[in-house]
Symmetry: D2
Subunit: 499 residues, 4 copies
């Protein structure tokens, strides 16, 4: 890849971070912008303008940001990057303040050699002020010579109804083509790799279907709880917080049909992947309540339970664990259960996709033993890896079957680049600058995914589903294991991946 | 595997090595028997009787053998093993001498607790005395209480005619069920693993066919020449010496249809694999002379050429290199070229199977780049490994496709057992003791394989095919590369497997 | 099907036929409306208003229409249908005249029990007045209580540019959801059946791909020429007149991926099929000029040649015959040639899809004869039929292979309904009333299909392709046969379908 | 087919029918020989010698045979055929009598121009005299200049044990290569066609497996009972009488893997099909008693029940109906139930193979209706036909799915030849003359098939399985329907094949 060829790099560029003094901005947005700067995708001729309600001078703002950058580059790089960073204070509905900020941009843009000046607005703010900010940008902040793009962050609603409401107000202001909805799972190395893996290899697509795959399991595990900040989480719960956005993205990329193209000129290329994601979502069955297990963690000797978090209501029915089975009604997947599991305060931290294949046909007869099922595992984090559990003859004088794996651990195989894998945000901001929307969430995707989840969420709120307590640090409710075995997943005891 | 359960271990056993003073006996037969002894498959109650023309006492024979054993066990193990070894001198057609040897066996067998005494005769002798030895064994050497099995070594003829002649004489003496024809390639770890790999995994069989595989290439390379002992080789040439026996075994195991069973009670189980190997051989097309490249090496600055070997005739037309394309007329393989390459005095030493898959369909359009073909490589030696060349997104900010591999290197993955992988002969002698004939060559297999090769060999003798000179230490004739590209193999320049 | 359940039947309905005195209206629109009336889909409470420039009374108009209806029903039915038909004269840009017509509709609608009154405008007019008429309907003719739908007829442009121009003007007036673009091939029984055939049967989809299909040929043959009315045709030529609209519709339905759904509630259902048609069009390669054969017919002893038609310019380079090869870059079709052939003044009249399968693998070896390829033929007209050319053992004492067919001739199998198969227009007008847009052409479909054809058409106009003369009543240019054999189609001489 | 090219036609030929005065000889053997005569495969230079215990002159024998021939040819043909027929009386163990008969053959053979004289012995006798007759033929009846072939008729044992006994005695006399075991089902047009259908067509093999086929059902129904001659039947029962021979032959031809070749020079060609039939039999699971339903018919108002047949013991536990599920442990069929049903005194007469495919995946979702499964039906008798139950759009204005069929009815399609389809015996005797053994039953086939059936038969004799009464003329026990639905077969009510 020769980054310096991207067209946007030859034009003027202003980045405006709305909510610049908040946590997201400090922890993700600015470090990612810095990373693009050190990689040469942003240059000294660009300007990065912070905007938030607190009053600060540019230098005060820079001092605030500096600690979040220093670990990502040399002092020199940090200082030259900070020189690009300015700050403007203003309310989220204050068009005048915004026009002041915009005036600064214009002044800067006018000094550039390119006659075309592009702008990115990054919304590092809560959704309740999205519309206000959008309105004032529309009023005074749009680029008149180049493109304007707006990056927004989840949550995009809490259910179908709230999403539609938000979408209506936003789309009254911005057309869909300038809105970039970030889900940072779409920026992860393994998520981005899924399509290459599937469509740039001959040996996977022929088995990527109901004839050969027994089940697909997408697992998200965190080994910590809410850590005293459960108040926000309690409004959403694990299904909204992890499944409806992150994991459904992974699932749709996994399950979609081949898109027309991944690479090519023309803005419609970005839509091909998203078209397919929408298409597969439309084929989902409603979730059946008997294929859902929900849990909420209790404390153990060392760690508090969920409701012991002071910010969580005592009568909270918010699940911190969920196992849900999805069913996709298309010729490829009819009959294959897609199991999604997500939980906090579990025994380990990992996100992975696990494809369990059907047993080799007649193998029990041929080998007079129970031949274990193959599994293809795509480990999203930590320790990016792809491995296929493979059966071979036990080496030596034995003729027994033993399970080992064909392995591709990124840490081992890509030693040079592994430690420098960019953060998901870095990739996605770069995609925004390049105008590649394929890794952003489109409005109709959200519409369809809320259709899948909303009835389930309603049922939870109406307490139609039991909330099973599980211990902090455990594997989660035993009922979840029962559920996944019931739909066909087979645990094969002895195998252990050699990381 | 619990070796101590094999039925033969509870019965008396005598092993007779015919040609015990020869090279093969010293380098392979006795070390392998010793290895079975140290692994517990042979015991102190067994007897191993050497038989050859030279006169020697038992102790003189033991002294002769000792140097070939010491590196494979402790001194104590060597000495206790040698105590089992006796020696009888006799001509290969001397029934009286053989009856003396047999009398010794009987005496020993009579001392055992089991009323059943089994015998293995290992023919470490040239084929011209096979029939003589067989005749005297049949006359005086057969076990009367248990089974008798005869292990014979290649060559099994030089062409269809000589094979049929040999087979007629042998089969007039021994029924097929007691003859164990060794081809040591069938005892190699990766050859033995081929069936497990194919039939104990779900993800390979669906792509193991003409729809997905573009070509299969089996390569045997040696990085040394005849080393002054080319006289024997010159009578056979690379096609007989390597292809018609070793590589055709690998090819048939690769290409055969699923056998009924691999494991199970009943002597017919051994036949299932051999039935399938014969079946696939029957579907071979005659080799076309325009799909053959033959070579003979010339010397380079350091090493002499083939004809510079004193034992090789000056006008030798014996190929030391061959590339041959086979075509199999069955529904699975119709249209897929099977390329076999074997050569001496080349640039490296290795034996491997390389399956090249068709390009991912439409990938050039989807990714706007030439996506490399997947290859599954089974490395037979050295460094046993299986790896699938796999395309992924280049890690990092790029979206390019890069080829890496899903890897299973035995050295890395099976660290404990790798250094102790048994020699092929050890496995095969154990199979003989167990009565498992699946890794031995059946008469009809030889019949069919000679049918495939004999017309080609005749054409070579009639000088219908040009013999291309190539330099010692080179990759062999360039015409071979042209041939394999002509039948569809694609070299993909930049990829390098990380051993 | 229980037609009386459709929601539109419970509401008021007015149909306005613009261009009511023209050929299309008389030959297709009114007879189809009459057919809907006799089938019970239109009722005595509906009103059908003709609109055109000629001045006429209602009765004069009825007298004009009567002859076109009488063969489709009883006298009584004709008369009661004609009672629904009124007429209003007016120019195509005369808003006042249109408001007079609209006032009549309102009066009639007001007398209906339903408070909801729907309107269909059928554009039986040339495209140059589309925009004018659209504008006056938008101004004065839209239903205020129910839906308004507009049916338009091809041509939809002559190339990408003219299409975009037309589309821009129309879409400035009407949103896409109310425009129903008719291509009557989409209303034919076999075209409508294609999706059922593919997706409601298990035995076809597994072979509907590059692994099993060798080529697909879509053929349109007419056994008559321009019959003295070639002037209009000469502006378009066979490619626009037959391929770009009719045959490309058949091809995309044939080749598309499975849509999400065919049946269901919600207006988006109609879009699923059209989404897939657009998707497959996007994967088309540009047509290569060396995969095109064009022809123009000469006269024979009885019939005049194309240029002998007085209405055709003497120097016309308009093709009356074309054979074109299309290539689709997706995983299903990569490598499969799609051959399209269309011609006037040929030896017979028929439209069919012919799927030629690859030879049964290894069959030549197994049967020691050249086993003919299977072909699945979908005969669109005349004589709707589906048949699979199938090989069986020759009945009797022979073991030879003989080709016969598994047959489904509609005339034989559906004797009761066959003679009453509705005209394509009847189906499509009913679909319009039901709001099912799946059999109408969407704007982006046209955009993509013009992208495929425009470069080819430009090349023809720039005379880059030779125009081959062929005789009236012949099979067309021999070069076309050469082309299709070159891309892999195999003629198998002796077989003849038994109609 | 040019029959006059077969090598046997140029050599002398004598046919000896042992048991010439019995029912089989009269009804099948002689009419078939006559049919070969009228078709030109037998000629006036051949001799057909009847041999049986009854004393008769040649003319008396001819008078006896004449009535069985007259309907198969003209008077002239009958008389010239009868002139070839001679008769010799003798006991089945009377070597002297046989040598008298043989002397006649020799005399006749000596008069022929060919120096090579071939002989066929047709055993139209009960199995208990097989060995005796074989012994005297071996002693005095073998051709000394040409080949000798022996055709034997079922039953070949009653279980594994009795088969092995019979086989041992026969194989001590005749080598396997000269024994032709007839099962007349192998001579039926549709049975012979099965391999052409499967392997000479591209569209069936890809779906001929567990991924696409839900179940296979082979049905044999007779609409009459034992008709007062149940004594013989009672010793065998429906399983031996129909399933173990006839239907298992059909099943193995249906289910076998592709043989190496069907056509070609060399006697081994005949073995390829039989090798595959044996192979698939080896993969059968033992029948599970809970997958068997047995019945015995009761009388109805018009017809007597089974035990009312005077020749049947009152306490008979012989089944006259059986439904049995077989399971085949190979990669193609793992998981697919093979249902075999056979019964006497049922509601109709037919033999057919019915392959039920899995439902089109996701079709319920796509079409919002339960799409019926496809079925491929091969009707063996009466009315040979192949048809594929196919779903199409209901013709007309409806979009509903309706089931019809792609049809190949031999009566309609092969009108010329249909009425002359040769009897199974005619084909098989011709195959014997040609030396094509592929349609005869090999000893190891019988061995394997008895292994499948013997445990079941033992269980029946030990009364471990209930015998369900069913009424004469009914569909058989309702429990059979329950069984086949339990293993996955779906009845789809409304469809009816249009014969």
């Amino acid at each position: 890849m020769a980054g310096n060829e991207f067209p946007f790099m030859k034009e003027a560029l202003s980045v405006v971070v709305i909510g610049a003094s908040g946590d997201l901005a400090k922890k993700k947005t600015y470090p990612s912008l810095f990373s693009l700067y050190t990689s040469g995708f942003l240059s000294d001729s660009n300007i990065i303008c912070g905007y938030a309600r607190s009053k600060m001078t540019d230098d005060e703002f820079r001092d605030k940001m500096r600690p979040f950058l220093i670990k990502h580059g040399t002092d020199e790089q940090v200082e030259s990057f900070l020189r690009l960073c300015t700050y403007s204070a203003g309310g989220y509905d204050d068009a005048k303040a915004m026009s002041v900020a915009a005036a600064k941009l214009e002044t800067h843009e006018a000094q550039q050699t390119s006659s075309k000046a592009n702008r990115v607005y990054y919304f590092a703010i809560p959704p309740n002020v999205f519309t206000d900010v959008a309105a004032i940008i529309k009023e005074v902040g749009m680029s008149t010579t180049g493109w304007t793009r707006v990056i927004v962050e989840k949550p995009f609603g809490k259910d179908s109804e709230s999403f539609e409401q938000l979408d209506r107000s936003m789309s009254a202001i911005f057309t869909e083509d300038i809105v970039y909805r970030i889900d940072h799972y779409l920026g992860k190395e393994m998520t981005q790799n899924l399509s290459s893996l599937r469509f740039a290899n001959t040996f996977l697509e022929p088995i990527w279907n109901r004839n050969h795959i027994s089940s697909v399991m997408i697992t998200f595990k965190e080994d910590f709880g809410t850590q005293g900040r459960g108040g926000y989480f309690d409004q959403y719960g694990i299904i909204r917080d992890v499944m409806q956005n992150h994991l459904i993205q992974v699932l749709t990329l996994f399950a979609m049909e081949p898109p027309t193209k991944f690479v090519g000129a023309g803005s419609e290329i970005s839509e091909h992947v998203r078209d397919e994601k929408v298409k597969v979502l439309r084929a989902f069955d409603p979730v059946r309540l008997d294929e859902v297990v929900l849990g909420q963690y209790l404390g153990n000797e060392e760690e508090p339970g969920y409701k012991e978090d002071k910010t969580v209501p005592d009568d909270s029915v918010t699940p911190t664990y969920a196992a849900v089975v999805f069913r996709i009604n298309n010729p490829r997947w009819d009959g294959v259960p897609f199991i999604m599991r997500a939980g906090k305060a579990l025994n380990e931290r990992k996100t992975e996709i696990r494809i369990q294949f059907k047993r080799p046909p007649a193998s029990t007869f041929m080998f007079e033993t129970d031949v274990p099922a193959n599994e293809l595992v795509v480990r999203v984090q930590p320790g990016e890896a792809i491995y296929m559990k493979t059966n071979v003859k036990e080496p030596g004088l034995s003729n027994d079957i033993v399970t080992t794996e064909l392995d591709l651990s990124y840490k081992k195989r890509f030693q040079d680049t592994y430690s420098q894998l960019p953060d998901a945000y870095t990739r996605l901001i770069l995609d925004t600058l390049r105008g590649d929307k394929s890794s952003f969430v489109r409005d109709d995707e959200l519409r369809e995914s809320w259709k899948v989840f909303t009835p389930l969420l309603k049922s939870i709120e109406e307490k139609k589903i039991e909330l099973i307590p599980y211990e902090y640090g455990s594997r989660g409710p035993a009922q979840a294991d029962e559920l996944i075995m019931r739909v066909g997943f087979k645990y094969t005891g002895t195998y252990k991946w050699h990381d």
